[in-house]
């Protein structure tokens, strides 16, 4: 889909939908939002809806960073302590690696 060809209102609406959608545990959607609308929000010369698009992109980026932080922390904790947690660790694991931890 080529953003160039969209009228501005539709760009804004699309950006907003992607932003709102990201709240459903979808940081990937926020990432797509940021990357896709980055040029629109920051590089293009000003047009009416640009300010709002900028807000959405910024908030998506914020949300994304938050998610990345949370996920990284959780993954680090899990990988590090999985073996020590014994049963709970196994219960949480989807795949359990072979060999001695």
């Amino acid at each position: 889909m080529n953003l160039e060809r969209l009228p501005n209102e539709e760009k804004l609406s699309l950006c907003r939908k992607y932003y709102l959608g990201g709240f459903a545990f979808l940081p990937f959607l926020w990432l797509v939002n940021v990357v896709w609308f980055f040029r629109e929000a920051f590089v293009k010369p000003v047009y009416t809806e640009q300010l709002q698009i900028k807000t959405y992109v910024k908030r998506s980026a914020l949300g994304l960073l938050l998610w990345v932080a949370v996920l990284t922390t959780w993954i680090t904790i899990f990988q590090h302590f999985r073996a020590e947690w014994g049963e709970v660790g196994d219960y949480l694991s989807f795949t359990i690696p072979l060999g001695i931890p």
């Binding site: 889909m1 080529n2 501005n8 979808l26 010369p45 047009y47 996920l71």
Partner: protein, 500 residues
Amino acid sequence: MANNAEDVEKNMDQQQANAAPEPPQQQQQQQQQQAQEAATTRARSRGGSGAGGGGDGGGGGGGGGSGTGPEQNGQPPTPRPVVMVDAEEDEDEELTLKYGAKHVIMLFVPVTLCMVVVVATIKSVSFYTQNDGQRLIYTPFPEDTDTVAQRALNSILNATIMITVIIVMTLVLVLLYKYRCYKVIQGWLFLSSLLLLFFFSYIYLKEVFKTYNVAMDYFTLAIIIWNFGVVGMMCIHWKGPLRLQQAYLIMISALMALVFIKYLPEWTAWLILAVISVYDLLAVLCPKGPLRILVETAQERNEPIFPALIYSSTMVWLVNMADTDRPKRNSTEAASSQQETPEAAAAAAAAVVVSPAPSSPSQDDGGFTTSWVNQQQHQLGPLQSTDETRREIQQMPSARPPVEDDDEERGVKLGLGDFIFYSMLVGKASAAASGDWNTTLACFVAILIGLCLTLLLLAIFKKALPALPISIFFGLVFYFATDNLVRPFMDKLALHQFYI
């Protein structure tokens, strides 16, 4: 989503009524004129627009200036030149071929990527080459029999069953389309892409983690699968960035090909490939072929065929920016240029339905018990694996006045079934061949050559063509030749340290 697609179609009707599409049985003169117009358009816009390809879409970008750099923003498009009346055959042909050549390149990349993904997975994740004794229900006859004759018979039977299933599915699809049961078709497509994006990617991920001996917890896994699936559904069925959509299509084709590679026994797989290419040829080219009927019905109705599961090298199918404001003529016109006209509308549909889960899950079935799997099959209904109809290539329409088009906007479409079967061939070659990389590379090259030829034919004939036959034929020939002739030869040479 279904509504969206329908609106798409309705609006397509309106636009196409305006745009006066031409039936494929055009006269040569018209074709030449069109090609020339297209040529001149291309020539001009090639100079003009930047990589964003939105040069003339600048007008569509809305009043507020949209322009940077080389794009012709905010300015009215340069006026069309007068169509050259005198047909300069050579120039025309050259441009047609150049046009074809560019699209060949545009299709090489995704096809190659898909094959690379499949081959990489086959080589690293042993799951897809293990014979767990499971089979699809469409290939009930086992191939580990005592005699060669029995094996041959079984594989022929399997292939027959599979082809019959595919033919039936195609006919059902055509009937549904003819009697305007669009919702059913869209629901079907939606469900099958859902299955592919969630279930098969889950299995894929599980096997990859097992192969690399990585621990993964359910929480992170859920987040990953959920994100992958939902964004995939959005990109494919709704609106999303083009590159992401292309990436998703490649990924689901690869997943599907992997399923086929795993669950189809050896000889059956090769037979199926051969028979499917023949079927494809017949279905698309014969006057009574189901796919041809589909194409013609779509043309009669001035509608695009199913807006799902066709890989488009430039614009996305479902992008119908124009379904809201008619007054924004610039954007609608620009938009309509990238959409299907009936000519191009033969994008065959995906009857992507995916095969149900194997009936006897393996030891580590990831928590899915047999009963769950059966229940899933039951709930999802008789989803069956077919990819028949996706085998058509089309050209985007050549320029229609006053539509602005540049090279990048006019793309080539390739059905996802083609991706799947190409990758399946190469994947099987890498899995099964004794010649290993030689054979794989030979098949890869063969398929690309076949694709080139097909696109060349497309540029010459300008109508929907089956993409499978030439490539698969070459692929099969190269596979068997390399495996049985070249490889022993190379081995002998290496053995005797004889360099040629």
